[in-house]
């Protein structure tokens, strides 16, 4: 079975799949607390499936919340090491583009909330990326939609009120993560896209 983990955005999703068919899945929306919920949720799906043999782990590597995607990657790496199974990274953009493909054949602009008044954007034609992942202001992203006659999916869609959005769950769903792992497998280097905030600090008790 394949274990999928997604903690990159405002949800924690864990599932077990046989090929692309979901056997068990838990999905909890949350803006914080991924670190506390993730391992108990993995435990839950493993229990529900009576501790099946896992042969592959698929984890979303961003873009998304820096903390969230590190939590997912750290857990996936640890499980992969302990079980001695491969861990495949997938992009939260590509997983959404794949989901959108089921509803629509037009170009798709995946837009995820990047906070601080910005969005992560990437343009796809079907499942092929037409651009790299960039951080844009919502008006600039809206211009891209117009220019490419694209439809919009993702957690940042609400920032672009005038555009045509698809009724696609804005979080990377397990089935599409598994499909992405087959079509666009990535490593486990997080897709931060943004540079780190360089403010120094010492730990306090």
């Amino acid at each position: 079975m394949i274990l999928t983990i997604d903690t990159a955005l405002d949800a924690c999703t864990v599932a077990l799949l046989k090929h692309e068919v979901v056997a068990q899945m838990v999905h909890e929306p949350m803006t914080r607390g991924h670190a506390d919920r993730l391992v108990p949720l993995i435990n839950t799906v493993l229990d529900l499936a009576h501790n099946p043999h896992i042969d592959t782990i698929v984890v979303s590597i961003g873009p998304g919340s820096f903390t969230g995607l590190r939590i997912g990657i750290a857990a996936a790496r640890a499980l992969g090491f302990a079980w001695n199974v491969p861990v495949i990274g997938v992009s939260t953009m590509a997983a959404l583009a794949l989901a959108a493909r089921e509803y629509n054949k037009k170009p798709v602009l995946v837009v995820h909330d990047a906070k601080r008044g910005h969005v992560y954007v990437q343009l796809f034609d079907g499942t092929d990326p037409l651009s790299g992942i960039t951080v844009e202001t919502p008006p600039l992203a809206a211009d891209m939609v117009t220019a490419h006659k694209a439809v919009v999916v993702g957690t940042g869609a609400a920032h672009l009120p005038e555009v045509h959005t698809l009724p696609v769950n804005p979080f990377p769903m397990p089935r599409f993560m598994v499909a992405c792992a087959a079509n666009h497998p990535l490593g486990l280097e997080p897709l931060y896209v943004r540079p780190p905030d360089a403010k120094t600090q010492m730990p306090k008790h």
Binding site: V39, I71, A74, A78, T200, Q201, M202, P203, K204
Partner: protein, 350 residues
């Protein structure tokens, strides 16, 4: 007789990624520390986001290396201990979630360790130190005197009302343009310096208040440095030596006061990054001698943040049946003595 427990320890609360395998009979089977000095150096201090980025990359491979070095598998481990706080929360969460995932995958119990307890119990890993003992815990983030009554049982006698001693070392290193890591570089320069050249303050020494203060000393050094148009190497060495002597005096004065107040201990222990400082160790040894106490300082490699002290604290807790649920949370602040009165000026820091 039962078999000794084997504990994997994970540390990621500041700028060192570390893992170690320690047995409850005090054997250190393997330990590794991956420092991040070069990543933080351009900023002149620890950048939390950069630290977190480095931890997630380094940690699992480091655990694999430690197991390989000991010729063991994860299955051979009896429990996994990880720092759950206090510290930079982004890094703490990575170590803790990694430990939880390993525990889940391998069916092992989890032990959530207070980083400060890791330092506090570290002398018991290398020496035979019975409870209770008086502990001076001095590092970049902490400066406390604690009576260690037992595992998980601490009475805080003093803390800093402003900066930690190690923080002061780092800031002075920055003022003198010595670079990072500040503490060891100030010590190295002080060797060639005249500690009597500059009269610097020893805040709070001789007062009835039990606590530490280093902000005034730090400001005095800043004013001193500002008075120079250019600093020669000798000036730098003399300032480093004068500053270090002032810190040593503060630490000794406050520790002596705590010894008088706490009574029945037979051992004085120093732990934390600043415990690696030679003059600090010598002065505390002399203080212990004057009070007929045994003095214990961990070996230098065990003073800075490391995985062995977390594994050892885990071994102590595991031996007492103290394990934690998978839902345990990372804590940015986690005092060893939650009952301690807050010190003047320290606010939420202590």
């Amino acid at each position: 007789m039962t078999r000794d427990a084997l504990i994997l320890g994970i540390e990621s609360s500041c700028d060192e990624t570390a893992a170690a395998l320690v047995r409850s009979d005090k054997t250190i089977l393997a330990h590794k520390v991956a420092g991040q000095l070069a990543a933080h150096q351009p900023y002149g201090g620890v950048v939390p986001e950069i630290a977190a980025r480095a931890h997630v990359e380094a940690l699992t491979p480091l655990i694999a290396e430690v197991l390989a070095e000991a010729g063991l598998k994860l299955d051979d481990v009896d429990a996994i201990a990880a720092t759950a706080g206090p510290g930079l929360i982004g890094g703490v969460m990575i170590g803790l979630v990694t430990a939880k995932a390993l525990c889940l995958a391998a069916g092992k119990p989890l032990i959530a360790v207070n980083h400060l307890e890791g330092h506090a119990l570290s002398p018991r890993l290398t020496h035979d130190v019975p409870f209770p003992y008086l502990l001076l815990l001095v590092s970049g983030g902490h400066c406390q005197i604690l009576k260690v009554l037992g595992v998980g049982r601490y009475q805080r006698l003093a803390t800093t009302i402003d900066d930690a001693a190690g923080e002061a070392f780092d800031k002075v290193a920055k003022m003198l343009g010595l670079g990072m890591p500040g503490g060891p570089l100030v010590e190295a320069h002080a060797i060639h310096g005249n500690k009597a050249r500059f009269a610097l303050p020893r805040p709070l020494t001789g007062t009835k208040e039990p606590h530490f203060s280093f902000a005034g000393l730090k400001s005095a050094v800043a004013r001193l440095v500002a008075g120079f148009e250019t600093l020669s190497d000798q000036d730098k060495a003399d300032i480093a030596a004068s500053f270090q002597a002032a810190v040593v005096d503060c630490l000794v004065d406050r520790t002596a006061r705590a010894l008088a107040a706490c009574g029945d201990v037979t051992t004085l222990v120093v732990a934390g990054g600043v415990a690696a400082n030679g003059p600090v160790r010598e002065a505390l040894q002399q203080l212990a001698d004057r009070h007929n106490l045994t003095f214990v300082a961990p070996p230098l490699w065990l003073c800075g943040d490391n995985g062995a002290m977390i594994a050892w604290a885990g071994a102590e807790r595991f031996g007492l049946g103290m394990i934690d649920p998978m839902s345990v949370q990372a804590r940015p602040r986690w005092p060893l003595d939650p009952e301690a009165e807050s010190a003047r000026g320290a606010g939420v820091k202590a």
